[in-house]
Amino acid sequence: MKSGGVRNKRFAYLFLLGVLAFNYPLLSLFDVPLMIMGIPLLYAYIFFVWVLLIVLVGLTAKSGSQGM
């Protein structure tokens, strides 16, 4: 079992990552009229980060689930 503190810190870290990735200025780098594989770059970026965040949160939530 992971100690609760470590997991809480991981979630807080992922939250901060999400805040950074979804806001100015990182967001503005992708805010250009380009297409990537036929999809507007900005949408591709947002959905990619979104999926990534979900996967990471899922993994973090799962880790240490034994013994809880």
């Binding site: 939250f15 009229p33 900005l42 947002i46 949160v57 939530a61 799962k62």
Partner: protein, 911 residues
């Protein structure tokens, strides 16, 4: 085309299915077999967040502002990432204090304040009613589109309510909420059927939207690439791919919306109801924090494609973009799909209306009506015998009232606004709870006055910047109010207060209201003097993970009360059966005997107050309980003292635990040593007794038979001398070990040549080796550098290793090989034998004192004290060397030890 009757029929069938599911869920819950006890159902029910706004409105927003619609779903994603920290804390607090709604939560946190609960309720109702009307509007509009499509897209007009589907749907929803949302007076009892129905609605709306999205993308167009390429080729539409349409401050708006929706996912009454009140198991949160974002992602996947397809398909026609998702299949003659989308939209709307109405009705009943009724003297309500029917009746009335208000609002004003803009105004309203709620669970300093003023200020600014302008737009206020500001004061213009511009109107309102709100909350709290109860509640909330139920009971209350009084109080609100059941459980867990006790202790009173709080909210419960108990008021100082005491006790007990654990380990170690010592003593005495016995018997023979010849006598004496040597060797070993252990050993440090040491040791053990007819081989280099150490002790160490090898070597075939190896840094000695070997698990323990590893095997008791290897290890340790063993069971063992070589310069000096 589809007939109106068909649509009505299908709609009513759908709502009928909801009733059936809810009924089934409740039945299963009554039978003790919950169907909602699953993280998946929990996550799906959280998706009640996605309303008709998501289903229809997102497309409209995407058409107008491009990617901005996504902020509303990214905010909650971020918030639930923190869910394990924030939501879990709220969950824990709510369970501990039997919280019934968000109003109850805030009231309870700030000293169970009736006023605060009332204020939260009023803000919530005023803020949410437009949001409910939005859902009714969506249902009504989608129905009209359906029935009027034959004559082309006819502008939507106002119709009398008896022709309006939304009216009948509203009626059915009220019935649903009444039936499944208010079964018992205790709100903290979960509504299992309701949650099951909501989860089902979430599945329906997701499938419907995905089906529409897939149809549009892959049937009307040739996949994403084709759709985006056509849209890009179409003039002006590629603007939607970036933020460029929103103007310069698009990122600011985007961030504000993310913050706003982050707060909404916690603070919306329906989200609080589903996430907190209806939660079955705290651990479900662990899965929900990624399942729920996944749901939101899925339902947003096709929003932009539908928006683009709608614009391409209806370019030049006046079609409301909010309805694209329904009109696209309709215009392409897809009857089944259109029906599915219609049902999906309805499920999105009805789910929201049902849960929101139930949450609001609880708040209205517990935090607004009940406190008022209890205070109205002429009603004498406080003395009535059965209030549980009253409670339920008030909630029923509140449900009908809320839905009716929503319907009226829709009829009066909702036509002026798009779906999303109404929803955002509601978000901004509930965001005003944020400082009081979030501050309240992390900052003990927040006070009742701080919370009250902060919400009042935030709500006023919200009203001024968002509601008054809408009145102006509806023609109730002069239009100049928006354009020039009230009385021509331009710095009071509601959309650019104090000249702040660049943000859109909702973001502008959110920034001002939340800023003023937070500043007021902190400021007033810092200059306020909270009461004792506020102190207690603040500590209970902020430190919820630290206090157990028992600590709390001893804290809050001091006074005298009679059990029958409290019991009759509970019976009035919960009914007789429920009271008996709840108190019976309590008595059983405490081993209380009703017959013997008349006076209630503080634990009992607190428990009763919590039971009551689950029905009528914490503030009213407090009032009711204090009406039957004689309470001694506690001063702030007293409460603080008790809290500090408790905390200190907890700290002390933690320290004690650590110390105890340490002592326990030490004790274990001592016991082990004691056991080893006992064993050692028995081994040593055994070893001492054997030679003694033989010496004694020989001496007796010599005494009793003096006539034996001299040769025999000589032999006997030889044996005696040998045995006496063995005795003294043993005793020397014990003494040596004792000396080394106690640090009294006198080490004679001098330059030592390890070749000589090896030879000396081999010679010393020559006789032992010859007795067992073992072959001893030495592999020694020509010369090795000397090292500094105690020569005799090193010989002793080597002798111990050799005699140890001898012990385990087979008779006749025994082989012992001693190798001395020199590399630049160290000298290594290897003593290998072909004896029985050592089990891997014993490779470390062989060097422990008193340890005789052969005990557990059937190889018989070994000779020797069991100290040889322990002494050797200590000698090697003293010389800063290392000793270890390599062995395979049955194939012999090799003992290694290595000693560091003196640096050359020292070697010159010393030898």
């Amino acid at each position: 085309m589809l007939a109106t009757e068909t649509i009505l029929f299908v709609s009513i069938c759908y709502i009928g299915i909801l009733f059936a599911i809810a009924y089934y869920g409740d039945k299963r819950a009554d039978a003790g077999r919950s169907i909602i006890n699953s993280p998946y159902v929990y996550a799906l029910s959280m998706a009640v967040y996605c309303t008709a706004w998501t289903f229809y409105g997102s497309v409209g927003r995407a058409v107008r502002f491009g990617p901005a619609f996504l902020a509303i779903y990214i905010g909650p994603t971020l918030m639930v990432t923190l869910g394990w920290l924030v939501l879990r804390k709220i969950l824990r607090i709510s369970r501990a204090h039997r919280i019934t709604s968000i109003a109850d939560f805030i009231a309870s946190r700030y000293g169970k304040s009736i006023l605060l609960g009332g204020v939260v309720t009023v803000i919530a109702v005023l803020g949410i009613v437009p949001y409910i009307s939005l859902q009714l509007k969506a249902i009504s509009t989608s129905f009209q589109i359906f029935s009027s499509h034959q004559e082309g897209a006819e502008p939507i007009r106002r119709m009398p309510f008896f022709q309006d589907t939304a009216f009948y749907v509203a009626f059915l929803l009220a019935a649903f909420a009444v039936l499944f949302g208010t079964r018992k007076p205790e709100v903290t009892e979960r509504h299992e059927g309701l949650v099951a129905a909501i989860a089902l609605e979430s599945i329906v709306k997701l499938i419907a939207f995905l089906a529409a999205g897939l149809f549009v993308t892959y049937i009307l167009f040739d996949g994403f690439g084709d759709l985006f390429a056509k849209a890009a080729a179409h003039g002006g539409m590629s603007d939607l791919f970036t933020f460029s349409r929103n103007g310069g401050d698009a990122y600011m708006d985007w961030t504000v919306y993310i913050v706003l929706s982050m707060l909404a996912i916690v603070l919306l009454p329906r989200q609080f109801q589903i996430t907190v009140i209806e939660n079955v198991d705290e651990d479900h949160l662990r899965k929900a924090i990624w399942l729920f974002p996944l749901y939101m992602l899925a339902i947003n996947l096709f929003v932009l494609p539908v928006a683009l397809a709608g614009m391409l398909h209806f370019s030049g026609q006046a079609v409301d973009a909010d309805t694209f998702v329904l009109i696209l299949p309709l215009a392409n003659e897809q009857k089944v799909l259109t029906m599915l989308v219609f049902i999906g939209g309805m499920s999105a709307a009805t789910g929201m209306v049902i849960v929101e109405t139930i949450a609001l009705s609880t708040m209205i009943c517990n935090d607004l009506v009940m406190p008022l009724l209890l205070h109205l003297q002429p009603l004498k309500l406080a003395r009535r015998t059965d209030l549980s029917t009253w409670l339920i009746a008030i909630r029923h009335a509140a449900i009908v009232l809320v839905i009716l208000l929503g319907y009226i609002y829709f009829h009066l004003t909702a036509e002026f606004y798009t779906l999303v803009s109404i929803g955002l105004v509601s978000f901004a309203a509930v965001a005003q709870f944020a400082p009081a709620l979030l501050g309240g669970i992390y900052w003990k300093g927040g006070t009742q006055k701080g919370a009250l003023w902060s919400m009042a200020v935030g709500f006023l600014i919200w009203g001024y910047t968002l509601v008054l302008p809408s009145l102006a737009a509806a023609g109730i206020l002069p239009h100049s109010f928006i354009e020039e500001g009230p009385w021509g004061l331009s710095w009071l213009k509601p959309f650019s207060l104090f000249g702040l511009h660049g943000l859109d109107r909702v973001a502008h309102a959110v920034v001002w209201s939340l800023m003023a709100n937070t500043v007021t909350y902190v400021g007033v709290s810092l200059f306020d003097k909270p009461s004792a109860l506020e102190h207690t509640q603040a500590t209970m909330f902020v430190d919820v993970f630290r206090f157990s139920g028992e600590t709390e009971e001893s804290l809050v209350w001091r006074g005298t009360a009679m059990i029958p009084d409290i019991k009759s109080l509970l019976e009035r609100f919960l009914g007789r059966d429920r009271t008996e059941e709840a108190l019976g459980q309590y008595a059983e867990s405490r081993n209380m005997d009703w017959g013997l006790t008349l006076k209630a202790d503080s634990g009992f009173v607190t428990h009763a107050e919590k039971l009551l709080a689950g029905a009528i909210g914490s503030a009213s419960a407090r009032v009711m309980v204090s009406s039957v108990v004689k309470e001694e008021p506690l001063g702030v100082q007293e409460v603080m003292d008790i809290l500090d005491e408790t905390r200190q006790v907890i700290t002390y007990s933690r320290e004690l635990e650590t110390v105890t654990a340490g002592l326990k380990a030490a004790n274990e170690r001592l016991k082990e040593l004691d056991r080893l010592k006992d064993e050692f003593i028995s081994t040593v005495s055994h070893e001492l007794r054997t030679p003694l016995t033989s010496i004694r018997s020989i001496a007796e023979i010599l005494r009793d038979y003096p006539e034996t010849n001299t040769i025999e006598q000589r032999e006997f004496l030889e044996i005696m001398i040998n045995e006496i040597h063995r005795l003294s060797r043993l005793i020397n070993q014990v003494l040596d070990f004792q000396k080394i252990e106690s640090g009294k050993m006198q080490w004679q440090i001098e330059p030592v040549d390890l070749i000589q040491v090896t030879q000396a040791a081999a010679n010393a053990t020559r006789q032992l080796i010859n007795e067992k007819r073992i072959r001893l081989t030495l592999e020694l280099p020509q010369a090795v550098p000397s090292l500094s150490g105690d020569r005799d002790q090193l010989i002793q160490a080597m002798v111990n290793l050799i005699s140890n090898a001898v012990k385990f070597c087979p008779l006749e075939q025994g082989k012992i090989n001693i190798q001395l190896i020199y590399d630049r840094h160290q000298l290594e000695v290897r003593v290998s034998d072909n004896g029985i070997g050592i089990r891997p698990e014993d490779h470390y323990t062989v060097f422990e004192q008193f340890r005789q590893i052969t005990q557990s095997t059937d190889r018989g008791r070994p000779q020797g004290s069991g100290l040889g290897l322990a002494i050797t290890k200590r000698i090697i340790d003293y010389h800063k060397g290392r000793i270890w063993v390599e062995s395979t069971l049955g194939e012999g063992a090799t003992f290694h030890f290595s000693l560091p070589v003196l640096p050359p310069i020292e070697k010159l000096q010393t030898g």
